[in-house]
Amino acid sequence: MARVGVFVCFCGANIADFVDVNEVVEETKKIKDVKFAINYKYMCSDPGQGLIKQAIIENKLTSVVVAACSPRMHEKTFRRAISEAGLNPFLLEIANIREHSSWVHQKDKKSATAKSCDLVRMAVAKSIANEQLHEISVPVTKRALVIGGGIAGIQAALDIADAHIPVVLVEKSPSIGGRMAQLDETFPTLDCSQCILTPRMVDVATHPYIELIPYSEVIGLDGYVGNYKVQIKKKASYVNFSSCTGCGACSQKCPVKVPNEFNLGHDKRKAIYSPFPQAVPNKPVIDAEHCLMLTKGKCGICKKTCEKGSIDYDMKDEIIEREVGAVVVATGYELYDASPYEEYGVGRFKDVISSLEFERMVSASGPTNGTPIRPSDGEIPKNVVFIKCVGSRDEAKGIEYCSKICCMYTAKHAMLLHHKVHDSHAFIFYMDIRAAGKGYEEFVKRAQVETAATYLRGRVSKIYQKGKKLIVRGEDAQIGQIVEVEADLVVLATAVMAQKDNPDLARRLGISYDKYGFLSEAHPKLRPVETSKAGIFLAGCTQAPKDIPDTVSQASACAAKVCGLFASDTMKKDPMISHIVQENCTGCQNCIRVCPYTAIVTEEIPIAPRSTEMRTVAKVNEGVCQGCGSCVAVCRSFAATLSGFTDKQIINEILAI
């Protein structure tokens, strides 16, 4: 015998102004199974909740309907309230008479009230068919995976490891350090980037709780939050890291020279190489595409030179597996290829370079030992033009968004140029100057005053060659005149882009990405480090362009989330998930095909209780299932059923209208 209690909320004026809440109560009292109906100003308040609890006890209610705002707001609140009064929390139904009625039918009180009564009647009918459900406990593997060894990955790994949680840190290149290792000095403090980064890199290498797997990639991820299995491909380095001492003799003798990616092609590295002097781990790898032994079977000098016998040309790629409970994705960014800007002569003029190339040039460990030079003739430039927003804020040739960091690093470049070449003159073409961080505006002012850089407001229209100089032409919008700068060197602040293989990685992990390839956060305002998949978090520029302080903050936030996830040995999960009634299952596997979370697997069960003959049926992995209902929709045999939304519950609702 069903005994339903209905509690209608005024929600202040939100509902009561547009819906006659008294009439709703009166109509509801007429429903057969409703034994108690009342309305109240603020049902979610303490007295409101008290009302509900009291009514449950006094009237021996078997289920509760709250007619109020969206379940997204207070479903949890009311579930807790009724469970405190002894009822299973899933015997609650919410009739949303705010978002579904009062807020959208503000001009017609009569109809809004009638609709609200209908909604309540549906909720009552559904609640009668509600079953008692219990939260599920899933075990947790207390180990974290961090993908990406830049400052974001390093920070997240250190924070998690410091909480005595083991971390597996996977990095694609031979060394960790990422973009920060390529920078000279960082704004706004002008700290030497490598100096503040390398101690962290060493911490990672020596931390007892961090397993660093360099020169490797994540190729697959199975499982669910607390219980992931990750497949990692360790690329063949052809160097035995355990015996290698990092002495560098092999690189010295190697005869092959290849453009150095770390310095963006401005100098050469060897086929056996370590990306930069402070690399961690400081062990070289062999570039299989260019090594003479690996491509032609010739040379072999590195092996002959190595005193430890660490070179192994027969090494193969290796696939390893790790079990982890959470993943932090920190794969960073790449820079926009400015080739579409043909009017700037990109690719045609050697002296038109990107900001990262300039950064490498002014770095002491860079291709020119810290001296900015003109790539065309090696001379030191005096007039340097910096162009901001190349690719950024450009729907025609690039991307619509602002890359956030370029205004600041261009001011920094003006400072660095001034420090390195005292009689230089910086010309900065800008649309805006965005200096919104702590100490940022002060830094820009410092750059403007100390370097006497000429800031020109206007996008550059064209660059052409005149003898040895490059003529940079644009309108100075402030004075409304065309200006042409005779430049020795032009530096383009190119847009921050998502890594090209981000969509691939996202698919492998089962998370979403946006139209630019940046990985998507669960909510832009309130959930910036979580993704749509529980247990996978984002840190750094892989999610959106940002500077180092924000990256580090985000990385630490991920670490906090991971630690929270691992706080207990088991994890509670919402029980409104799917089940397969295996007696009805025909084993067609349609549900497996449609499940977006790969939460359904096959299982062999005997065809009859004591038979040895087996048949294939489906089984839902409780930990992974998110309760979307796709399997229920495709199941032809009524085997798949969704707790909390069973066929009986839904049909009851429909019949109640």
Partner: protein
Amino acid sequence: MITLGIKDQHTFLDEVNKKSGCNILECYQCGKCSGTCPVSMYMDITPRQVMQFIKLGMKDEVLVANTSWFCLTCAACSGRCPRQIDIPRVMETIRHIAIEENVSSKSKKVKDIRKFHDIFLDMVRRYGRGYELRLMAEFNIRTRNYFKDMLLAPPALLKGKIKLFPARMKTAKAIKRMFAMAKKLEEQPK
């Protein structure tokens, strides 16, 4: 000085947007168009400034300026505009509005340019094809610059670059009819 907030600011903007098919509100005043324009140095107000003038509702200033008349429709600006605004189309719209509302510039340059176009079209109407000698002569007469290009004409004639007599179309009448009908279409309410 300009005072805003006293009359409807967006009437002219809406008119230009509608007729040109562009949305000038998207212009973020980067100035790439002005720096690109080969003749921006000859203009009273640069292409970028024109966009801002339109946004501020300064219709008279825009129609009277020589900017739209100097536009060569070379399309270098729109090719570079990061907001993909069809600037030559906007210039064309301004010219057409100026013609429709009979607004003329005080600048002799603009008057000369408009005279040239009128003479050119008259030449096409008469002959259906080009007749440069008449074009140049009539232009010189109407702009009272009688000896302009005087030294060019003899060698050009001798080399056969410009012809003494006009080329003729067989059905020149079709062109006269086309002109008349097109004029009627212009006069129809939009």
